[in-house]
Amino acid sequence: MVQNDTVSPRLTIRILIVDDSSLVRLYYRNILERAGFEVEQAINGIEAIERVQAQAFNLVVVDVNMPKMDGFSFLRALRRSAPSVATLPALVITTESSQHDLDDARSAGANFYLVKPVSEADLLRHAAILTGRQNERIA
């Protein structure tokens, strides 16, 4: 579990949640905002690409299964973007847990991969590590 006191109050850490379900976006947003992160949302990969190009983020949390542009296509587009955007850490969230899916996530450019249902503790821990809020390595 991530402790709130590990955050510098002056430092804003901005996370983009990308999921086509408004209920799921709201669910993740609540968890992350309660822990002090600032959260923005996009409903698919196309909108997410526009958002990361227009505004600076510290992390993108992206669902794999989305209409229009899915999570993997978004990640490949992200990694081909201008250098300032291409290195944005990405936490991929999916319902599948096979080795094949894990390999797909890695090759698309995911920094880490969580399988649904994602617990509050897991989401906060990985968000903290990937944004540098918590000095720990992910195994």
């Binding site: 379900s21 408004s22 209920l23 799921v24 976006r25 709201l26 669910y27 993740y28 947003r29 609540n30 949302q41 299964n65 969230i93 319902t95 649904k116 249902p117 994602v118 617990s119």
Partner: protein, 291 residues
Amino acid sequence: MAGLEAEQIRPTQLTQEEVRRVCEFLYRRTGMVFADSRRYYIDRRVAERIAATQSDSFRSYFSVLRSDANHEIEHLVNAFTINETYFNREEHQLRCMTSSLLDNIVGVRDRREAIRIWSIPCSTGEEPYSIAMWLMEHWSEVDSYNIEIVASDIDTRALKAGAQGIYSERALMRLSQNVISRYFEPLPDSRYQIHPGLIDSVQFTRANLIDSRDMARYRGFDIIFCRNVLIYFDDSSRRIAAENLYDCLRPGGYICLGHSETMSRISSLFRVCSFSEAIIYQRPEADHGAK
């Protein structure tokens, strides 16, 4: 000015026959039964509509109604429906949904298939939004499934208000401060605006419980909340509504009624399920549509 308006819509004294005609008309359209004991309520609603349509008598109003000029049937139905409710009403059923019903549903479900929940009648949205908030607060698998929440009512004014999502403090009386701060924004007039993410999570549609053709548009629900409406119906309308709702459920799907309502007295189609939190009715798993 407000006083003058109140004066203009003061209940006109309808005759017994006029009341009978309006009640008969409403019954045929909606299944709702209005007893003589609610005479003042009936007079007042009809007087409102006579004033709104600028009719000079009951007789001229009734011909406007029968010809459905300017959607008068919808306006009359809207005037007669009752929309008093609040968030987390009959919370034990919401608890039953996340502690038992959903586990039973997802146990035999492919994760890619949507879970469909229906709130009918949804009034001004308190119930479907309560369901959405309850799922986010109390169901750890909320992110694992595509959850569709459909909210239907016969009253189009109520549906519009639901989609706007603005509520009085009274409607929020059962919610904790944490939940209020997470999902509502206070407005300057002491009302509250619900979070736009919740509005996006609920699909509002018009539906009439006793109209089989209307109800045929709704199929494959896993859980239906149909609370405190069947009490306004007579036996025959209740049976029609129950059969329609049965067809809207998936085999194995559940229906929650209001605390004073009992499906067993209405229809034998459903199985009674006694959970520790609530009594819920189920469309039997083995039955694939035969009635």
